[in-house]
Chain length 598, copies 2
């Protein structure tokens, strides 16, 4: 696999040409004035960290993996140093408000850095990503005293953190959780229970680990209405912030996983571990969900990050590997064969990777700007952005990660047999990426959230908020011949989205199972339409740029060709998903559970 | 993962109800009378080997993997014993003619045994599968003396074998191969060169290993016209069949792979290793291709085998894992939650697995009967069967393996986070299966063979041979209301296949890149139509059976529901592939090679 190279040209295109980030940042309220130079400096710094610190330990991190012995976890060589460098560079608090000790930068800029570092080494990125969990929980539900006690060292990277929801018998169904919290009567609680799948639950590179953990207080109601949120350090933290005694937080084992082997996935035992409640009793899940929404966009980002890595690998190989001649005559007459990039089917694979990867970047960066506006826009902007985020977060999480499976699959496929061999790195990218459609809510869970809660739950209002944006965009190009190849199918798909939703709504009234039966196909349909919209916007920008005959016209022409590929070769899949979504729920519910196999 | 259980009920359905195998076997020429009892005994024996011998070492084989040290390979515990039991049971020569020392059974019965043993442990199955390579090469191109020298111990499993095509610089482009053969003037040749990706090139369980190897004689023409086929044993074999000296066949390394870790994938060095030529000089590739065609069906079988394993795992988990309540009211009121099989989206995943898996079984078993007819039918049958095999082998290889990626993906997805953990086995199934779209010719290579050589190369004749079969089937149900839900979309898809082919043919005349640009989408389209035909045939049989109100009506009703699922929820994807295949070749060829990234 070639060394990771940050896709700075495309990032600049998305941020500047497509999303006009400088005007966007200048208009945010309560924000530091964020100059174009500072934006560039941060991107440049993130890129250096990604290329120079994170990427070099990507493959070795997988080969070494994490080791577990006697309750201790040993992480791969270089991970501890990299995590420390991350903290010392001020990256851990990048998007945390300045008054809380962070850098106060908008989420969209964090996304951009996150993409690069994540592409370079997602396993490493897990430690810093999860360390953000107790930070967000503290910001949303911690008293000033608790924040003062925990935040500084979490932001400096001297301590790390985790998010603890899952138990062996409860994953998607968090209401079943059993971990208990006993009131000590002095403002602290004793937490007892076992959590699984805790990323970074134990490691060997920070003095302390702060766990954000869901548990039930005594006499709490059953189900999700009886869940509270706590913060529990591995070593007790005195009011001064100094470390106290071991707090009965034990790692019982680490999982042997398909991928992300540099990230320690821990079974954690809390044996009366002392902690603090965040927010109100029994309201923990709502607090955790504030975190989950950004975590879901962060997982969508994994889809983008791994896609970029798979695309870079496949492209490099396709340009160098010599097999067979182009049917239109030798392109490398001096060599024994032509590079395989001359072959149309290899192009198809690369174009598919490029269209999904660059589409994901444009869509997610735009969505991150909505998050900026939700947090720091004026009232109207914030309301609109919040509504868009509600609708589009499950689409982003579901669609970006599902399509990234295809992109990382194609990464291996371009390599042929060599893609199956560890030393080329492509199979690692596919293994690392395989979890992205599962954690932070499976695609099925995202789809239920989308169709049940967001679309039908709002009586269609949240969806109309977005289809109106698309409609307005299409209207604006009425009669514009040069954009017609994009606008016509986009407008048609947008109309079909509305019609499909009507049908789904009707079906849901007639049959309780209709929502679940159609939901994933509905989500995938929605993703194709959303990407069609962002690709049409990209095409619009490129046509404007090309009209001025710029020096880098080749870049914009390539973008336009990629937009065309998306519309002609990928968007037709939306129709297959619509057809499946409109099929009777009986297609999936007809069989008795015992009639699936005989 | 639950223990593997051979899907005997479905195998019986396909062989007996759908394909009337007893009449088929009775009508084969030159065949032993194959009684229904003998067919059952062989299936039963294969099932026992799969369940009792192969399956128990599936997960341990992956965990232990193969080890390499000092030129020697150590295979996982139990593999040697299992291979020996396979040979001693007479399985290695199952489909080899009796006069050559085999059991003389038809290929279709070998397919059935292969599915079960492959589902149970594909890595183990690799050793016996590749041992068949020199056997087939000897049968097709070996003198009576050579056959007498090598076949007995290859068929008894005392020796094993390999197939050696690939070199580091030549995979798909076999014409580039450099391994040399020097004539010793005594009927033997000295082979010198390095081959890679040699499955079972070295192991620790047979006295000898016989390599079928492609090489160039001195002065041979460049490219594929100068390739000859040789047979080269690790230890020299005297005319008597007894073992001689070490023959300079060395294993240089084994690959660290994503999956199939129990199968040793070797770098093999031949340092003047002595061997025999099979067939004529410079005609080796044609001889090897006779083998490749059955190897491609064998790899399609891997798609089926791994799909079955993933389906069994997911189904078992879905019936046991308790998460959330059914929206139509608790189905497991005594428990804390309902089994996840109550949820429509879990059903969608299971139905998708079931439709692809059982569709693959029906289609491949039918195709295997065509192979029987090609070998042992009367002249007319043989000609028709051969033509069908020509057309459908690349479709079977490409489509069964590509869709099996989705099935093994869903196997993990049903397990949620637990699917990513090694101990549940589902990630192993996905890793093991990932190579199936690559080896024996990637999907791209299959698609070029299909569109370029088979469909357009025959002026459409090979395709018409199959679409006529479909058309006749549809005609036969004219006015049959109960079959209309299957016949109408099948007839439409069949017509569309013809129209798509016309367009592809026209495009190919206008643009040299058109075939490559459309080929994989054309193959996937063809696969969906082929499966629609086999599912319609299944539906026909089930309706006939149900009319008689059989005791096991539930089985046939489940099949019918699965056919409906395929038609309503999977077949619509054919339209997306047709649209992509009809897009201009410019969609993939527009970019200069250097314009894929900036």
């Amino acid at each position: 696999m070639p060394a990771y190279k940050s896709p700075l040209r495309d990032i600049q295109f998305v941020l500047r040409d497509l999303l006009d980030c400088d005007a966007h940042y200048a208009a945010l309220q309560d924000s530091n004035p964020l100059s174009p130079e500072l934006v560039d400096a941060i991107i440049e710094g993130g890129s250096r960290f990604a290329e120079d610190v994170a990427a070099p330990i990507y493959e070795s991190g997988d080969a070494e993996g994490c080791q577990f012995s006697g309750g201790r976890v040993t992480t791969p060589k270089g991970f501890a140093e990299a995590f420390r460098a991350w903290g010392e560079g001020g990256w851990q608090g990048l998007t945390v408000p300045e008054e809380e000790g962070g850098q106060g930068l908008p989420m969209s800029l964090g996304m951009c850095v996150g993409e690069m570092v994540g592409s370079a080494n997602w396993a490493l990125n897990m430690y810093s990503g999860l360390s953000g969990a107790p930070v967000t929980c503290l910001l949303n539900g911690g008293s000033p005293e608790l924040k003062a006690r925990f935040l500084p060292k979490l932001l400096s990277g001297e301590w790390a953190g985790t998010m603890c929801l899952t138990e062996a018998h409860c994953g998607s169904d968090v209401g079943l959780l059993r971990t208990r919290a006993a009131d000590n009567g002095d403002g602290t609680w004793n937490i007892t229970g076992t959590k699984i799948f805790i990323s970074g639950g134990e490691q060997d590179f920070t003095d302390n680990i702060v766990h954000a953990i869901l548990a039930r207080t005594e006499g709490a109601p059953d189900g999700t209405a009886g869940i509270s949120l706590f913060i529990v350090p591995k070593f007790w933290v005195e009011e001064s912030g100094s470390l106290g005694a071991f707090n009965n937080v034990n790692c019982g084992a680490i999982e042997k996983k398909m991928g992300l082997k540099g990230s320690a996935t821990c079974v954690m035992n809390y044996d009366g571990a002392r902690g603090f409640m965040l927010g109100e009793e029994n309201k923990g899940l709502a607090l955790m969900f504030k975190l989950m929404n950004s975590a879901r966009i962060g997982t969508a980002l994994q889809g983008l990050a791994m896609s970029e890595r798979a695309f870079q690998g496949a492209l490099g190989y396709a340009q160098e590997r010599l097999q067979m001649r182009s049917l239109t005559g030798p392109k490398n007459p001096g060599g024994p064969a032509d590079p395989i990039i001359v072959h149309p089917d290899v192009r198809r694979m690369l174009m598919t990777q490029k269209a999904f990867t660059e589409g994901a970047r444009a869509f997610l960066y735009w969505l991150a700007q909505q998050a900026d506006l939700a947090a720091r826009g004026d009232e109207e902007q914030a309301a609109q952005a919040t509504a868009l985020l509600e609708l589009l977060t499950p689409i982003a999480k579901g669609f970006c990660t599902e399509t990234s499976q295809e992109v990382t699959y194609l990464g291996m496929q371009v390599f042929g047999g060599h893609g199956y061999i560890a030393e080329h790195g492509m199979e690692q990218v596919a293994r690392d990426n395989r979890i992205s459609t599962v954690y932070e809510g499976t695609t099925g869970i995202q789809a239920l959230d989308l169709v049940g809660r967001k679309v039908l739950g709002s009586g269609g209002e949240l969806l109309r908020g977005f289809t109106r944006v698309i409609h307005k965009f299409c209207e604006g190009h009425n009669g514009n011949e040069s954009m017609a190849e994009f606008i016509k199918p986009l407008a048609a798909a947008n109309r079909e989205w509305g019609e499909l939703t009507m049908k789904v709504g009707e079906a849901a009234m007639a049959d309780t199972e209709a929502v679940g039966a159609c939901s994933v196909d509905y989500l995938m349909f929605s993703g194709y339409v959303s990407y069609a919209w962002i690709w049409a916007r990209v095409a619009e920008v490129c046509q404007e740029k090309l009209a001025a005959e710029p020096a880098d016209a080749a870049f914009y022409r390539a973008k336009l060709a990629t937009a065309r590929f998306f519309f002609q070769r990928l968007l037709p899949r939306a129709g297959a998903h619509a057809a499946a979504a409109m099929a009777s729920p009986d297609t999936v519910m007809a069989l008795e559970p015992e009639a699936f196999a005989f």
